[in-house]
Symmetry: C2
Subunit: 331 residues, 2 copies
């Protein structure tokens, strides 16, 4: 954001209430900024937001490179705007030097959807944003919903902790696989399978139809075995075939998601999850603010490495070390 | 612990250095106590402990009721003491009113092992121990190792968060299954499959041998599909059949665990994991101590529910609410 062009908060709030996509882009840039004055403005903006005009659904989406994620989002997004929804796509990309940033920082990969007036696509935020990816993306979701986007897709490349963070801010989690990944293992990170609410095998078209269905059956079978029904009111997740290229299965995939969301709204699980997510985010933010205060304390930060070494060597229990640390904290 | 019989710390430390089992039991009771004077004594004891006389291995063990966990631990433990190891078994049981405490609070279920002079069995701690199950069990592991028990089995019934806590204080995680659980789903909680380093199908004896082997093959196949090799230097976990009743497969199960431990010692992963566990325990203890200080603050605890409600409703971002909370904290 150009510092000389800081928009007044009231103007941003009004633009969001009007559903203006350009204002939404500027508002997200504001909440991503680490500048102290921007942070104050971002806080004022969020406090001034209109409530979402429609019930909203937040969908996390992941899949390893090569499964056709962009093509799927473009096709699925166009299907959803065709049903009258307004669709925002937020890309979460750790963009660490390690990964090189697998999500392109532009909208060209979803050109048709990006141009649709009922869609909004936000590329990956710049790395090392204040407070990590989660908090900023959470704010971006809030802004998109205030701007009238009732379906928010949060896309992640599936590196490091990003899925955990995305699962912590979304209502449903969608995993995209490619046909034939069975024996080769698709590189899906541990824990994703366990989080997915719906698994889609993409590229079920042309010569890959049979292979996609075989992959679907394999995963469905494995999930029945590995993923217990216990504690999961929705049972094991459905595994379905889709083709982003031909559009086959997209309507059914949406029906499955919508049914699941409706079921969870009926049981109250939907609201409970959102409340728990909000409270967990608050707890995490408080812990982070406290930790920052602790790290800034000169006496404590000087003593910390020795305390860590004592705990590692078993000379101090973690609780004793923590009490020793707090005792050094300036009052 | 009888308050009138508090043992002096020096005496406890000396008794542990001599490998005395009765002293170990008293020392664990001391670290489980919430009394302030006991906490100070526990801290002094841990600081006074001798280092473990031998390299140690901490093994987490879980399995749903009915898989024969006690019988397995008895047979496996007897096999291990036969190899010259000294074996401590620590039971972790959330003992919530919800579960009724599934682990018996006595040693009768592992009578032969409990009587062996190179074994030590500690029943489940009383519930609501200070700081949760994890920290207290971590201390108990430290005490057992100081007393010369080089193999520490931490057993959990697999309820709630207990496996996560056990995984956070052990080097290897062992999952016990029963034959034929495939289609019925064994009630193993989400995430356990993903944490297991070795999976054993118990009761592979008599008429159940074929069924156990079928179950083994099913899980091995499912794990190859679901659990990715990516990021796991040891590949997918082995699935093996054992019989605690006949002893079949116990030697091979131990070989598999020992091989894995040796491999991780060679690669440095073993030490890295322990260091990371210690640092995570310290971070958690500091966060908990800070949170306790925050909760004790009258101005903040009065304001907290309103801040939670604002975050739930989207009127405040978690960070803004956390900053507002800290601003209310007494200096």
């Amino acid at each position: 954001m150009d510092a000389s062009a800081d928009p007044p908060v009231a103007g941003l709030a009004a633009g969001l209430a009007a559903g203006d996509r350009r204002t939404l882009a500027r508002a997200i840039t504001l909440v991503e900024s680490t500048r102290p004055d921007h942070r104050m403005a971002a806080r004022a903006l969020i406090a001034a937001l209109p409530p979402p005009p429609r019930p909203t659904l937040r969908i996390g989406l992941t899949g390893t490179p090569g499964v056709g994620k962009s093509t799927f989002i473009e096709a699925f997004g166009m299907h959803l705007v065709g049903l009258g929804h307004r669709v925002a796509v937020l890309a979460v990309d750790p963009s660490s030097p390690r990964t090189g940033g697998a999500i392109l920082g532009d909208k060209t990969r979803m050109g048709t959807l990006a141009r649709h007036r009922h869609a909004f696509i936000r590329p990956s935020p710049s790395q090392a944003a204040l407070g990590g990816i989660g908090p900023r993306t959470r704010d971006a979701v809030t802004l998109a919903e205030a701007a009238g986007f009732d379906l928010v897709l949060v896309e992640t490349v599936g590196v490091g902790q990003s899925e955990t963070e995305v699962a912590g801010i979304t209502d449903l989690f969608l995993l995209l696989l490619a046909p034939g990944g069975g024996d080769e293992l698709q590189g899906v990170k541990r824990g994703i399978m366990e989080r997915a609410d719906l698994i889609l095998v993409n590229k079920a078209d042309g010569t890959l139809v049979a292979e996609a269905d075989r992959t679907r059956a394999e995963y469905a079978g494995a999930l029945r075995l590995i993923r217990p029904r216990d504690g999961d009111p929705d049972g094991v997740p459905e595994v379905r075939c889709v083709s982003a290229r031909t559009g086959a299965g997209l309507a059914e995939a949406w029906s499955a998601l919508a049914r699941l969301a409706a079921h969870r709204r009926d049981t109250g699980a939907f609201a409970r999850t959102r409340d728990a997510q909000a409270e967990a985010a608050l707890d995490a933010a408080l812990a982070q603010a406290l930790a920052a205060r602790v790290r800034a304390d000169p006496a404590l930060s000087a003593a910390w490495p020795a305390l860590q070494a004592d705990v590692r060597a078993g000379r101090l229990s973690p609780e004793a070390a923590a009490e020793a640390a707090l005792a050094r904290l300036r009052p």
